[in-house]
């Protein structure tokens, strides 16, 4: 919003008024500082977001989108009309047959929302969950799909959702990054591009915490440097860096200045943030922070370490972060790409994530934080009702990429709990009612923060860029708002 102002302002003040005036002006409200809370376009419904990104594309058909007809048609070919012009990564369309789900589905909560037996704990939260079953995207490969889900389009060098929101609103907490990334298990195919700042200044990029039980290092000053000297030292550092900015005009220096100041504030705020010792043993148990990896089956993408414990800790850390005003927390877990061996693999991942995510929703609710915190559960696309077949394969044990239809969960933060929105046809092939494009979902997410996706823009190379594609007319899904 203030971007042009900011840039013009900086370059003119840098070349005109000079460094000293600049350092003074840096503190003015007109400056689009990442750590200054800014006004939204209209009254917001949520303040924070915990975006749990299940990279690799979880099978909606085995988790949320119950299709009894698909089970009936198991092994049968599907209507050729539906296949016309459809894209797949692996599937042989001509010979493919439908594959029912081996999961047991049942209805939960006041609304009778459907969940499979893979997510019994999430099912218990159904009255708080809004389930969108009619999502669709343009991308059918992982990295492009992940980019579209996080950044609006499948492009490098463009900002992610968390960057846009922090750019638009600033931070509620001066002492922690406004955008924190927590990962567990093997990295996603998108890697750091999923929390990129793109053309926004680099202090809007997500800050990745370490995996495991020491998420942040080097928080203490070296012995013999008391806080007041740290403070005077950083004051000097800021002035010198500003002087150098006025000579080079490199915005990376401005980001570095902000990062040093934030680092200083984190020194007091972060130890307490990552210290779980004050959490009750009940809380730790609810989240499953001390769980061991199961011995049997699954987990081919688990990477090094104990993914179960790491994922649980990340969910708990996310609550602690939003409690302290961190605007956007991205919890990323890869390895939902189940082309084969679907049953044991998805069970492994579901057991890993079901308990801690449900614990998170309940915990936020008990603390009165769910109203102002949006929790999102999403992958980059869905999986096919067709079994993945390949010449020479004995049996179909997995599903292929399916950009046409998938399911996303939202909870809290101004969305209607107990609402199942949109539907797919009887086999889960295409959205039937109320299709929601990824960009519509993003427009809605911004709307919940009080931001108009067409107004939250930044001028880059002469174009007003935004999170949603500028060539597509995206809409806010008003029906799901409280």
């Amino acid at each position: 919003m203030q971007a042009n102002l900011r840039r013009d302002f900086l370059t003119s003040s840098a070349s005109g008024i000079g460094g000293i005036a600049l350092s003074h002006l840096l503190n003015q409200e007109t400056f689009a500082d990442a750590h200054v809370a800014k006004n939204s376009h209209f009254s917001p419904k949520t303040k924070n977001c915990i975006f749990i990104f299940m990279a690799g594309a979880p099978s909606q058909l085995d988790l949320f989108d119950y299709k009894p007809k698909l089970n009936e048609l198991n092994g049968k070919k599907m209507d050729a009309e539906l296949l016309k012009g459809k894209r797949f990564a692996f599937l042989q369309k001509e010979s493919a047959v439908l594959m029912g789900s081996s999961r047991k589905f049942s209805q939960h909560g006041k609304s009778g929302m459907w969940f499979s037996d893979l997510v019994p704990n999430l099912a218990k939260c159904s009255d708080d969950i809004c389930m969108i079953r009619s999502m669709h995207t343009d991308q059918f490969n992982h990295h492009p799909g992940q980019l579209q889900m996080q950044c609006g389009e499948a492009k490098f060098g463009i900002p992610s959702t968390g960057s846009w929101i922090n750019y638009g609103l600033g931070s509620e907490n001066q002492n922690l990054p406004g955008y924190i990334v927590l990962t567990a298990g093997r990295g996603s195919s998108g890697g750091a591009t999923l929390w990129q700042n793109g053309f926004l200044p680099s202090n809007y990029a997500g800050v990745q915490f370490r995996n495991g039980d020491s998420p942040l290092l080097n928080l203490k000053n070296p012995n013999g440097i008391p806080i007041q000297l740290q403070k005077s030292g950083l004051e000097t550092l800021r002035k010198l860096n500003e002087k150098h900015f006025s000579r080079t005009l490199d915005p990376e220096i401005l980001s570095r200045i902000e990062n040093y100041e934030l680092a200083f504030r984190m020194q007091s705020a972060a130890p307490e943030l990552v210290d779980l010792s004050n959490e009750t043993s009940k809380t730790l148990e609810n989240y499953g922070v001390n769980r061991q990896l199961p011995k049997e089956g699954g987990g081919r993408g688990k990477g090094n370490g104990n993914t179960y414990a790491d994922f649980s800790r990340n969910c708990l850390l996310a609550r602690r972060m939003v409690e302290r005003g961190v605007r956007f927390v991205n919890i990323i877990h890869a390895s939902w790409d189940h082309h084969s061996n679907l049953d044991p693999e998805i069970s492994f991942n579901a057991r890993m994530s079901d308990q801690p995510i449900a614990a998170l929703i309940n915990d936020l609710k008990e603390r009165g934080l769910l109203d102002e915190t949006l929790v999102v559960w999403a992958g980059e696309f869905g999986r096919t009702p067709l079994g993945e077949n390949r010449p020479g394969r004995k049996a179909n044990t997995g599903r292929d990429h399916h950009p046409n239809a998938f399911t996303v969960l939202m909870a809290g933060g101004g969305v209607r709990g107990g609402l199942t929105y949109g539907s797919t046809d009887e086999i889960g092939w295409n959205p039937e009612e109320n299709p929601v494009h990824v960009n519509d979902f993003q427009a809605t997410l911004l709307h919940l923060f009080g931001l108009d996706h067409e107004k939250l823009t930044y001028n880059h190379a002469g174009t007003q860029r935004r999170l949603t594609s500028i060539t597509r007319k995206s809409r806010v899904i008003k029906d799901i708002l409280t």
Binding site: R7, T11, S15, K84, G85, F88, A89, F90, N141, F156, G157, P177, A192, F199, S202, N203, A205, G212, S214, L217, N218, L219, K220, P222, N223, G224, I225, P226, L229, Q230, S232, G233, E235, T236, L237, K239, L240, N241, K243, H244, R247, T248, L249, D250, E252, R256, I257, N259, Y260, L262, A263, N304, G305, H339, E388, R390, G392, R393, H460, G462
Partner: protein, 709 residues
């Protein structure tokens, strides 16, 4: 009629439709999902030119040059008949239809994919880096930046070529050398420095996914991995031509009467992860390693991501699954082996892990599953058909020697482009090709294609001499430009795609360490040798999954070696490397991320290694200038960190900090002793030395200290 009108005005405005930029993106985004590598419906595959211009299964021809009406493609995209129209779901926009029509009318020019086609050598585009850059800048209406000052130049060159900041004497010598070729002499001196090999070896180690341990849960250490690293350093210092450098690493073991060093070279492919967990099927892991070798080779030399083709035909590159396994087959004859290695730098014969030949039959794996070999199809080693076909005697079975020769054949434009772009990227912090790791058919041609091709040709002409190509680039005015931003370029070239200036960027993690250690005088130079163990925070080594690893912090000189020698334990790497975006060594990386965040600030402010540098820097300036005044000492420290003199207002700021620090330590003598640590000076009070530690650490934390300008 309206349409015709639109088309006329369109063609009036546009001289020629650019297939790569205008037509291919439409085909890729809208058509290839059904008419591409995975499914060539009706025989039409837009990744294969011949299917587009020849008769299809139906007898129709998709595209007839100059005649939209005789082109089935045009009929289908304009059809209103539900059963005919293409694409079936979402029709093309009018603009897209117009583009395709105009393109067909103009003759349907379908050039080879830019990256696979022969190097373009058009004299009118310029015959040097500067001419090509200036011509393009003229087109967009901006000028080159002026040449940077001498201090910036020597620091830039030193960091780029040897990864170390210039010493005070070196700076003075350069400034005082007023001869015409002072700069060229400096370039030559740096290229001859033994540190050149270290700097450029580290780049290569990124590509090679080098580490000192196996990876996975067991993550056993590889005690002699460094011997190959030393080979890389020496080889680069000796400027082994890149073609030979390639061939020895790909196939050194196959050479007749191969020298031990040639066999050692094959350890490039010994760097893959190795899973020694109990339950692992050894054949499965071997297959994984082989796939990694194929993928790494394709990425590093060909700029291609082959991964997806291991399970299925590549969705958008014209690469079939069969072709993937034909490429994989080159590496399927490799097996892990060990040799006794002797060298001057080794005290005694040492066992080194290398690769050797072992014959195996290759099969396509269904979905990449090693348990499902398709035995009915025999696979022999060969390169993908869409890639340049050159001098290939395909009458005999190819092996890795042929592969090596093919990769670096002067007529292979793809690898010449990829490799010269790699060198350019290291010298500008920016790739000429936007997607550095993807030169495949989805990649758009670079804005500076002529420049890229010029460099590729130059690399060939210079007989693949890495040093000579670097000299050629850094001697250009384009390289020497100032990196200061200019407001007037914001609209026309905001991201500096056209190189109207140099780039300014934070240097890599290893070099951050090297600068801290160099500025403070702590650094110990020894080229090569086993990896070392600088201090790391408590608890990091314990993260290693099996808990089988003790980080025994090095004592003596080894505590202060360059960052590239830090022991790299894959499951518990030194956070001082990872925080600054050093790769995790799990897969090959050809361009690093550069993050800028508070975690980095916390490291350089609080980490033990970096604080020790501040203590040593304080001691150093006082020792260097025993009788000097405060301003001179500040200037000394400033120059040691940034290679330039501080300006009076900068010195004043630091003086203020010095005074505040003095005030504090005068009253807090114990704190003073603590902060100087073991860096006390005889006859100097801790309270007099301590303020300098605080000043030194701030200078070390300047943006400029860790930035190459």
């Amino acid at each position: 009629m309206t349409i015709t009108f639109t088309i006329l005005s369109w063609t009036d405005l546009r001289a020629k439709i650019d297939f790569e930029r205008e037509v291919r993106p439409i085909l890729i985004n809208k058509c290839i999902n059904c008419h591409g590598g995975i499914k060539a419906k009706s025989g039409l595959n837009f990744t294969k030119k011949n299917t587009v211009f020849n008769k299809l299964n139906s007898g129709e021809i998709a595209v007839t040059a100059k005649s939209p009406l005789k082109s089935e493609l045009f009929h289908r995209i304009t059809s209103t008949d539900e059963s005919d129209k293409m694409p079936p779901d979402k029709p093309l926009s009018q603009k897209e239809i117009n583009t395709i029509k105009a393109w067909i009318k103009e003759g349907a020019i379908w050039p080879e994919h830019w990256a696979y086609s022969p190097l373009q050598k058009k004299a009118q585009n310029g015959s040097s880096i500067d001419e090509i850059i200036v011509a393009k800048l003229k087109e967009i209406g901006i000028t080159q930046s002026k040449i940077a000052n001498k201090r910036t130049l020597i620091r830039r060159l030193s960091l780029d070529l040897i990864g170390l900041p210039p010493s005070k004497i070196e700076i003075n010598n350069f400034i005082n050398d007023t001869s015409e070729n002072a700069y060229e002499k400096l370039v030559q001196r740096l290229l001859e420095s033994k540190h050149f090999g270290e700097r450029w070896a580290r780049h290569w180690l990124d590509s090679a996914r080098y580490a000192d341990s196996d990876g996975y849960e067991k993550d056993n250490i590889r005690p002699n991995a460094w011997i190959w690293r030393k080979w890389v350093i020496d080889t680069i210092n000796n400027d082994m031509p890149f073609d030979q450098f390639t061939i020895e690493q790909i196939s050194g073991d196959l050479k007749k009467n191969a020298k031990p060093s040639q066999v050692l070279a094959t350890a490039f492919h010994r760097q893959t992860l190795y899973n020694r967990e109990g339950g692992v099927d050894p054949e499965e892991d071997r297959t994984k390693r082989t796939i990694d070798r194929a993928n790494t080779t394709a990425l590093v030399w060909l700029g291609l991501s082959l991964e997806c083709a291991q399970c299925h035909d590549h969705p958008y590159d014209s690469l079939t699954q069969k072709e993937f396994y034909q490429f994989y087959s080159f590496f399927n004859d490799m097996t892990e082996s060990e040799i006794d290695y002797e060298s001057d730098f080794l005290e005694k014969k040492s066992k080194v892990r290398v690769m050797k030949r072992k014959d195996r039959q290759t099969f396509i794996f269904h979905r990449g599953d090693f348990l499902q070999p398709m035995k009915e199809i025999k696979i022999s080693s060969t390169t993908p058909s869409s890639l340049p076909q050159i001098n290939a005697d395909k009458s005999k079975e190819w092996d890795r020697i042929d592969l090596g020769n093919w990769l670096v054949n002067v007529n292979n434009p793809l690898s010449s482009r990829v490799l010269s772009n790699d060198i350019w990227t290291k010298l500008f912090g920016a790739s000429l090709v936007q997607t550095k790791s993807d030169f495949g058919t989805r990649s758009t041609p670079p804005e500076q294609l002529y420049l890229l091709d010029h460099l590729a040709e130059k690399f060939n002409q210079l007989n693949w001499s890495r040093k000579k190509l670097i000299a050629y680039i850094v001697n250009s005015k384009t390289y020497k430009q100032s990196s200061i931003r200019r407001k007037e370029t914001d609209e026309k070239d905001p991201d500096n795609h056209f190189y109207h200036r140099q780039n300014r960027f934070r240097i890599e993690g290893e070099i951050v360490r090297d600068i801290f250690l160099s500025s403070s005088g702590l650094i110990k130079h020894k080229i090569g040798g086993p990896s070392v163990f600088p201090p790391i925070p408590d608890g990091v080594a314990e993260q290693s999954f099996a808990g089988n690893f003790k980080w025994k912090t090095s004592q003596g000189d080894d505590r202060y070696r360059r960052g590239m020698y830090t022991f790299f334990k894959r499951t518990a790497p030194d956070p001082n490397l990872i925080t600054f975006d050093c790769p995790d060594a799990n897969v090959s990386i050809t361009k690093r991320n550069i993050s800028n965040n508070p975690i980095i600030a916390l490291a350089t402010l609080g980490n033990e290694v970096f604080h020790e540098a501040a203590q040593a820097l304080a001691k150093r300036i006082i020792k260097n200038l025993p009788n000097d005044n405060d301003q001179d000492r500040i200037a000394e420290a400033f120059q040691l960190c940034t290679s330039r003199k501080s300006k009076p207002e900068e010195t004043n700021e630091l003086m203020t900090l010095l005074k505040k620090s003095r005030h504090f330590y005068a009253e807090n003598k114990e704190e003073a002793k603590t902060v100087i640590g073991k860096y006390s000076i005889e006859n100097i009070e801790a309270a007099d030395l301590a303020p300098w530690v605080n000043v030194s650490r701030i200078i070390l934390n300047l943006d400029e200290t860790i930035t190459r300008e």
